[in-house]
Symmetry: C2
């Protein structure tokens, strides 16, 4: 195994949103960076979560030394409880990151079974032949870090998700000096965040949002204010609390993950609270509207989140009244636009004023920030990560612009094994990778066949033909019964189903005529007859399920 | 009926995208403006199209004098073939609009059964007590018009969808002078497009896209160029053809609606073609890449459109190769972002360069243009139309800004009956309204029950329990058989289904014990037992369908 090369194997996170997980391997040692989930695509019907296929790591479990986490977002930590069940290795992360992982493990009743190590910025963890240094960055969650992964053949820098914020709300700016020192020492490869690589310029500081919020609060002195944002953006919540404090408003946290995450952040001192500012939602009725702010989940229009329930009049304490102000301190993630607009329309219909998109900044580096990191680290190889293919390609252009030779920019796919040393880098093979679907308590028990069936059922419903035959014959002793679900519903449907039954009976006569007794053959003939009839009559293709039972009595 | 008031009844188009249809009524006369479709929402599983409920018009068919169309977009003409079957009134529209309606009627084999009247700009059609004047506007399709609807109690101006374009590609700028004249004469109410009412400033002229296209063509002299845009944006296609001509490229039209609509526009002289520029897709192989442009459908990522098939390597003639340039001359309509990005990623993976959003302008008026129309027409009442609630509310703010008294700005809902005269305006009632689903050849046969079932099937699939009993008893002579579709698929599933069957058998023992023979009761008990078991085991709620057949043999 030890051919003197470092192997980098992205198991997820490329060409997709979420599910970040990358293996770094030298000789007998494997370190895994991040272990995130993805949210289901539109065609993954009924799926709750998507986690990475970690077969490769499980097959090499004895060589996996640890799991290192760059920050506490779901697309970097969400799969931990599932993967830890099969791969119980120690986890390393910064303070807030680890606190959020602990929340998650505790929900899965796994807190006792996982070794956890809180790491400080600047600290280096040695895993046999691999050393990992944690470098401070900025992002839309506190305590995000980049990693310098040093192997005998050189140092690889992995930025994690980052932006450059010279005036962060909490903590220090990204440790640019350390990136520069690593650059001076020599960086073999840079794995850099591509999310905003299509965007020119710089991402604004988180602090600019504070100013926008201040202006909004000043303009709406008499309204109750509801602010929806990402529960994991602790600094954002801090700024909303600060604005509330300046305008003498009490603050209610609402939504399960908002309460969970912010209380966790409060516990470890990452949110500072003016005394008595936080009140419980049950107390809100005791304060006049102009003295309250509700900070809530639901900024993405998620149908079960607090804001969506408030907008739909389905919240147990809060309902919208004319004069309320709702601020979306967020942008819709692509794919969520319609859901967000639906909530905005519902709020607006109930008389709320809605402010949208004026109070948000991205957590990812734009083109000039990416150039800055390249310029400081001066890597031999560039490996764009974190993004869809269009984002990776945009970073490729940036890398070329700052002077990385074209042939040293490596656009990888999930599962590819990249081997590199100071001379060269090459993809030498691939390992199993892909998405494992989580549905309810089931992990991996819903696959493509089931999803195809669900799509078919969703599009046109199901028609079931049920009958019971005397074993070995084609003599029908019960049925045929034709039923449907999700197909059509009309006053004439009884007649239509009657006709459908006639079509089945006709097929059965043919079956009798020809002396066919094979159950498979009978099923096929009924299916063909019925699907032909339905398509001809109404141009639809429901799933057709013929069920034949064997009668135990003759 | 004639109380000396004008009645305005929006039957669709408010608080939604699409499905524009409004009735104007005075005494015994009803005029219908537009007759559009909507595309299904995400939760309308399997639905192809949505058309308005026109019960009110059908019930008053003897009073409906005509259908007047403002322009040829699907959300204004798409429901015509369906509505005309029940309400065969004469249609009025400008030249291109009518040509597109004729295309549509011809596809439905209805061309002979509908009276059609082509109207010129400036022309006024008299329908008994109502007169309708067609006023030229600009929009993202040629021949768009506003309407001045004059009744004995005053004139109402309906802008249709519009923008102000001083330098349109084809035809003249919007007839602002006529809006001013109407304003001088007195406008009772203005129904104004709200789509872009949230956006400050002005919408750019369509001509600016021509310049952007020129620059793109100049920069990519050696690439094959594929441009995706809306097939109905005839002027856009004209500008792409112009750019192609300047750079000596041949043009291929691809995609069913692109070919249909542009050929229609060519036939009536709305597209001017340099001689020999248009070639068939089969000829493209005879030209070098740098000498061709493909203008295609699929700018919204529609899965069956030409560009999506090209991107997925499923197109019969064109496949992407490195060096190709694909230009999206379009913006994604909210809700289509993910589909568009999917296509961009696929194109990018195959080596194409993709230009996105640099070559598009909106077809709708922004805030300053809306203010211009208000300022020219000086209406007594403002009735924001065409948009979701948030858009209507945004126009409300604009109307207030330009001096319309708050109480004269009327935010209507679909189906509301607004009565107005020179003194007052009030909602006096409502009429049936809503969405009728079109699925395959079925119109209205898929309702909420079917959609709920489809959602359930999509989320968790179906489990079917089938058995045959001796009539009047609870004696099982065939089955129980437990089957599933879209539920789970695992190696252990046989065992799981075996357990499920045991649960059913247990329920049957209980049924026998208690001497229960009611089929409904038996079905309920089986359903409860099985759904309890499945929820407890894997936290899922498939649809459970117990089927009991009566055995004909004892």
């Amino acid at each position: 195994m030890n051919n003197g090369k470092l192997r980098i194997i992205p198991l997820g996170g490329l060409d997709q949103i979420g599910m970040n997980i990358t293996a770094f391997e030298y000789g007998n040692d494997i370190i895994v960076v991040d272990c995130g989930l993805a949210f289901p695509e539109d065609d993954m019907l009924g799926i709750d979560l998507v986690i990475p296929d970690t077969t490769y790591l499980e097959d090499n479990a004895d060589r996996v030394r640890g799991l290192v986490i760059t920050h506490g977002h779901e697309d970097h930590i969400g799969a931990i409880p599932y993967v830890m069940q099969k791969l119980p290795v120690p986890i390393y992360g910064t303070r807030l990151t680890m606190a959020l992982i602990e929340n998650k493990l505790s929900e899965h009743e796994m807190l006792d079974s996982v070794t956890r190590n809180v790491v400080s910025f600047g600290e280096t963890i040695k895993f046999a032949s691999l050393e990992i240094e944690f470098i401070r960055t900025n992002h839309s969650i506190s305590d995000a870090c980049a990693l310098a992964i040093t192997s005998p053949v050189g140092t690889v820098v992995h930025t994690g998700d980052f932006k450059v914020d010279y005036t962060p709300v909490y903590g220090d700016p990204i440790d640019l000096a350390r990136f520069a020192e690593l650059g001076n020492r020599g960086v073999l490869a840079l794995l850099c965040d591509s999310t905003n690589a299509e965007r020119a310029g710089y991402t604004n500081s988180e602090k600019t949002v504070g100013k926008a919020l201040d202006a909004i609060f000043a303009d709406h002195a008499t309204s109750r204010i509801i602010v929806a944002t990402f529960s994991s953006n602790v600094d954002r919540v801090q700024q909303i609390i600060n604005a509330a404090s300046r305008y003498n408003r009490k603050v209610v946290l609402e939504g399960r993950s908002m309460i969970n995450i912010i209380n966790t952040a409060i516990d470890i001192g990452y949110v500072s609270l003016p005394e008595g500012i936080l009140i419980d939602i049950s107390q809100i009725k005791d304060y006049p509207d102009e003295k309250t702010v509700i900070i809530t989940t639901g900024s993405q229009g998620e149908s079960m989140a607090a804001l969506s329930r408030i907008a739909a009049n389905m919240h147990k304490t809060v309902s919208i009244k004319p004069g309320d102000l709702v601020v979306f301190s967020s942008n819709p993630i692509p794919g969520n636009e319609k859901a967000v607009f639906k909530v905005i329309n519902e709020l607006s219909l109930k008389g709320a004023e809605v402010i949208f998109q004026d109070a948000h900044v991205s957590g990812h580096a734009c083109q000039e920030e990416i150039k800055l990191i390249y310029t400081l680290t001066r890597p031999k190889f560039a490996i764009p990560v974190h993004g869809e293919h269009r984002h990776l390609m945009a970073q490729r252009s940036i890398a070329k612009e700052v002077g990385i030779p074209k042939e040293n920019i490596l656009i990888l796919s999930n599962g590819q094994v990249l081997e590199l040393d100071q001379e060269s880098a090459a993809v030498v093979g691939d390992v199993p990778n892909g998405a494992v679907f989580v549905d309810g308590l089931g992990v991996g028990d819903v696959g493509n066949v089931v999803l195809r069936d669900r799509q078919r059922l969703a599009d046109d419903g199901i028609v079931i033909v049920c009958m019971s035959l005397i074993p070995g014959t084609n003599r029908v002793v019960a049925g045929p019964l034709v039923m449907s679900r999700g197909f059509v519903y009309i006053k004439e449907s009884d007649e239509f189903m009657e006709e459908a039954r006639d079509v089945v009976l006709e097929a059965l006569f043919k079956i009798e005529d020809r002396g066919i007794t094979s159950r498979n053959k009978i099923r096929d003939m009924i299916k063909d007859a019925l699907s032909g009839f339905i398509w001809k009559r109404i141009k639809r293709s429901p799933m057709i399920l013929p069920i034949i039972m064997e009668s135990t009595e003759e």
